[in-house]
Assembly symmetry: C2
Homo-oligomer: 434 residues x 2
């Protein structure tokens, strides 16, 4: 292909992000051509309703309802997929990749469910597959992980990857509001969807955790593999308990590489609320912002921060991928393939290891602490700090453990519930980033 010939793009979907992609293609046309080495030409846009009004305006002849027909055109070099969801996106992208047509997609759900099938289709035909916009919106994250850290070893990824949850938890922290109040405010301000279930229950973050873990550890991880707890159970008391400890509560997507007692590597991937100390760089990530903290063996700690959602930020990530894919077309090159070559085993949640904050409602009697401490000791869970608040019938015992497995902590909590002297296990929250 001569550098003078345009690189031809098919756009699938033209909602908020798609419109911003079209806008950037129009307004930055000269600059994009300079960076690619050839102009970018939009040859078709598949939409549900061609009659809908569009901003920016689009030549009507470009619009079609026949996505499959558009993808099958022989003159398409790159497919940009912004439909979302599993089908028809999956079939369309496999058809493009199978014929050597490169793909740029923002499709988190598809990558999280079946990324490896897409990786393999791209590898098979030598096409490029880029999906920076699928995790943490505008933040350049997957490219640095795949390329800049290609000579390093990623040991751990801690991400704040859901803006709705981060907004709700930030408000609870700032105002003392409880979960329902804070969610109501988030909804009123447009930070939460009318039905925020997939955000609040950790499902969205779990899909992103799966994609991050796949890239970090070259291992097949799907959204369904990710253990998750949402934020609906986080109480105002836990938020203030965290503050008393110099911590803040965040919903974290965590992917860790570890080595078991027999020297075998494995991967733990999970999503849950956790306390992190104020000194941790993630603690200052407020409101609807996203950030991903990476620990690499040689580079040390790294953090990437920015907007995780929105039309223009997501379009920026799509355009970045598009420029690279188009430049590869022009030069006849291809980007780094992704694969699950390392194929590390996934640890069940019971084997995941962290510290815990445990708050107990107890009667303030002599010997309560000794009894409680014995239960922790019986499960080999070592206590780092204990603090008692209140007196007589209203006492609260706040314990923070050293690292322990989730299984050991769960067994400890079950036994604590059986004690006469413990009225209730008021909170169990993980402590991360220490």
């Amino acid at each position: 292909m001569s550098p003078r010939l345009p690189v031809r793009l098919a756009l699938l979907g033209c909602g908020t992000v798609g419109a911003d992609v079209v806008r950037l293609l129009q307004s930055h046309a000269d600059d994009l051509a300079a960076r690619v080495g050839a102009p970018l030409e939009l040859v078709g846009i598949a939409v549900r309703n061609p009659a809908a009004e569009r901003d920016p305006a689009v030549e009507p002849a470009l619009l079609t309802t026949d996505a499959a027909g558009l993808v099958a055109r022989a003159d398409v070099d790159i497919v940009v997929e912004l439909i979302g969801g599993i089908e028809p996106a999956r079939g369309l992208l496999l058809s493009a990749l199978g014929r050597g047509v490169s793909v740029v997609t923002a499709n988190k759900a598809l990558l999280a469910q079946d990324g490896v099938t897409l990786y393999e289709a791209a590898a098979g035909s030598g096409a490029d597959l880029y999906f920076e916009a699928s995790v943490a919106g505008a933040i350049p994250l997957l490219r640095p992980m795949r390329e800049s850290l290609a000579g390093d070893r990623i040991d751990r990824v801690l991400g704040i990857v859901n803006g709705t949850c981060n907004y709700v938890l930030s408000r609870m922290d700032a105002t003392g509001a409880d979960f329902d109040e804070a969610l109501k405010e988030a909804t009123a301000l447009g930070y939460a969807e009318a039905d925020p279930t997939a955000d609040i229950d950790g499902g969205d973050a779990a899909a992103k955790a799966a994609i991050l873990a796949s890239i970090a550890f070259h291992t097949r991880v799907t959204g369904a593999d990710v253990y998750r707890e949402g934020i609906a159970e986080v109480t105002a008391a836990e938020i203030s308990g965290a503050q008393a400890m110099g911590c803040v509560v965040k919903l974290l997507a965590i992917a860790e590489r570890d080595v078991d007692g027999l020297g075998r590597e494995g991967v733990s991937v999970r999503v849950h609320p956790a306390m992190i100390p104020h000194s941790h760089p993630l603690a200052g990530v407020r409101d609807a912002f996203n950030a991903v903290f990476i620990e690499a063996a040689a580079a040390g700690p790294l953090m990437f921060y920015g907007r995780g959602a929105g039309g223009a930020p997501t379009a920026s990530a799509v355009l970045g991928d598009l420029v690279v894919a188009a430049r590869n077309r022009v030069s006849g090159a291809r980007g780094p393939g992704e694969s699950a070559y390392a194929d590390l085993p996934l640890r069940p949640i019971g084997q995941s290891v962290t510290s815990y904050y445990v708050s107990l409602d107890v009667a303030d009697k002599a010997g309560v602490l000794a009894t409680v401490a014995q239960v922790f000791a019986a499960h080999d869970v070592s206590i780092r700090t204990v603090r008692q608040e209140g007196h007589s019938d209203d006492a609260t015992l706040v314990l923070v453990t050293h690292t322990a497995t989730n299984a050991a902590l769960a067994a400890t909590v079950e036994d604590l519930r059986g004690l006469d002297t413990v009225r209730a296990v008021a909170s169990v929250l993980r402590v991360e980033g220490g």
Copy 2:
């Protein structure tokens, strides 16, 4: 080149970073080969003293004192330059690039002084030139700017890029120490060199600002073009003045694109201490850490955080570049070239625009504020807040301005010095990140 043939590397310099590069090449050999598609083979290492003891151990036959001879070998695919400084590095790299040999370098001084000559040599022969390690050590920053944001427009870069200065200012903020005390502590702990001049006076940060501005704005900017003020004049009183305003003092490297009154784009690049509000993501970057905050038109605010120096972090950045350059060799491709195509004019410091914190020692007499306010107004510098501290002969007037040009502020300060009622202009500090 068949994918099975090794990619052959020449290493120039084998100090702290070089040793860590050799270590990673040895310990990650299989993983690197998987990512590159071919093994990496070190064919020679140019050093000053081949007899020196080395960790990790290196085959003695690889060592040579003849760097030029090593670079000229016909079997070298990629030169990794870790000598630093201008010559002989410049001549060696131009010789390699001129013959189509790709270059990975950590050489901040050379890139800042003469980056465009290197860009042009690489473009002329089709070789790759990567230099991620030259700014902000381990932090993947230049690749995201060049590739992930290739479809966006960078408007502003604010960086904490000198670990020594950030450590000193962090200690002053945390302990109330003055500059000399904090520097002494930094030296004792190894965060400052025996001769810290190039760090303290902003020279190191200016070189990095030049590289960042070149990449962000596709414009030739050298270290000598960068206006700079160091941190030696920052007082404990300014640190506590910043705290009283909810701010922290940081040494910032700033590169901004702006549009003048006639609609002409230009670039302002400068390094100086500045107050930034605690709510700004850069405010939490403490001790020897680095971070770069980028404002892009579509992506919005982004921040990249990590270690800015040290053998292993820098080696991680070098290896990331090396993997990409080697993969390009294997596939016959090349990376994105860099150029100064936009060629925007550089604004003199007088035209740079920001807010200012001005602290005046005044006599607490009726009419002082009116007189002072008149001077600001005469130069069209608008006042945002005024606070008076103390009484009678010891009063201090603290003013924060709206944005104004550096020239207008300088003229204002000169006139303030001429007032009878103003005993001294105690502080003038820029306020950024608002």
